[in-house]
């Protein structure tokens, strides 16, 4: 069974890290850790002091509030043309390649390389016996042996 958010436990170290990262407002904390954070705050005076310090920085940051523009954005008379949905390049490539073919032709097209490979394999690889003596001697020259006699 999956633990509920309220069952999540939080270390003091993690709680301090959350305050340092997100500030003092619970709405800004990660949702999954919010309840555990509030529970820990209720228990720990040390954490509450840390939260007060975070809140004083928040109050300064909150002063920086650019208002939206006076004249709201209005849509132009004519909007540009829209692009078609994104197609996966591989699917697009295969579709473009097979576009003149239909039904069984596509199946035959896809099966051709498989059949070629199958028959090629049936023939088997060249064995040493197939090689002529001349071909063998060309690839494996016999070193000349000189005699001192």
């Amino acid at each position: 069974m999956k633990p509920s958010h309220s069952q999540t436990t939080l270390s003091l170290e993690r709680a301090v890290a959350l305050l340092d990262a997100y500030g003092a407002l619970p709405e800004r904390w990660p949702e999954a850790e919010r309840e555990a954070m509030l529970a820990l705050l209720a228990q720990s005076p040390e954490l509450r002091a840390h939260r007060n310090a975070a809140a004083s920085l928040d109050s300064l940051l909150d002063l920086w509030d650019p208002q939206p523009q006076v004249h709201p954005f209005s849509l132009p008379e004519s909007l540009p043309s829209q692009q078609p949905p994104e197609r996966r390049w591989r699917a697009t490539f295969i579709n473009d390649l097979l576009s003149p073919l239909v039904g069984w032709q596509r199946v035959a097209f896809a099966a051709t390389p498989i059949m070629i490979g199958f028959f090629w394999g049936l023939q088997g690889a060249n064995t040493v016996e197939d090689w002529s003596a001349a071909e063998f001697s060309l690839l494996n020259p016999i070193p000349e042996v000189t005699s001192n006699e």
Binding site: A17, D20, A21, Y22, G23, E27, R28, P30, E31, A54, L57, L60, L61, L63, W64, P66, Q67, P68, Q69, P72, F73, L75, L79, P80, S81, Q82, Q83, P84, P85, E86
Partner: protein, 172 residues
């Protein structure tokens, strides 16, 4: 989104209405320049329209996908800027407020400090902070946009916030 991909202009207008403000704030924070941010917004939305058929909801949420487009455009601009001129030279401090003159002066000063502190961060630190903190995107989505793991993102965030804290403490 399916309707948008079929050329439904009304569906696209609805998408713009929902997502444009967040995307513009993101681009403004990334580029620290409103005019360029507007250009990025426009280009992001045009790309979303053109490539709507390519959006895959199984890969990313719509807002993540849109942020990813905007992020890539911002990175291109920042790279070009880095070649042409340093970011600090043309960055703006963007302020819009209805506060009283006294408190406005104080707010403006603090905003200036925060802006210059954020500006001092490296591009990756700034991106991580903006997407997570300001855009409030889930960590997995931010990691996906930046092409990094969640652990790597958290490490970037810790360093970004630590650096910001140091800069802001020094400036006050």
């Amino acid at each position: 989104m399916r309707q948008v991909s079929r050329g439904d202009r009304d569906a696209f207008a609805a998408l713009v209405e929902i997502h444009a403000p967040a995307l513009e704030r993101f681009a403004t924070r990334m580029l620290l320049e409103r005019q360029r941010a507007e250009e990025v917004l426009q280009e992001t939305l045009m790309k979303a329209w053109q490539e709507a058929a390519r959006y895959d909801p199984e890969k990313a949420r719509l807002s993540t996908w849109l942020h990813q487009i905007a992020h890539n455009l911002c990175i291109d601009i920042l790279r070009r800027q880095r070649r042409e001129q340093p970011l600090a030279e043309n960055a703006e401090t963007i302020i819009d407020s209805d506060e009283s003159p006294e408190s406005l002066v104080h707010t403006q000063e603090t905003q200036r400090q925060v802006t210059s502190a954020v500006r001092a961060l490296s591009q990756r630190h700034r991106t991580a902070l903006i997407l997570t903190y300001y855009q409030s995107l889930p960590n997995r989505d931010v990691a996906q946009i930046m092409g990094i793991s969640v652990r790597a993102l958290e490490s970037l965030l810790v360093r970004a916030r630590r650096e910001l804290k140091t800069i802001l403490e020094e400036s006050t």
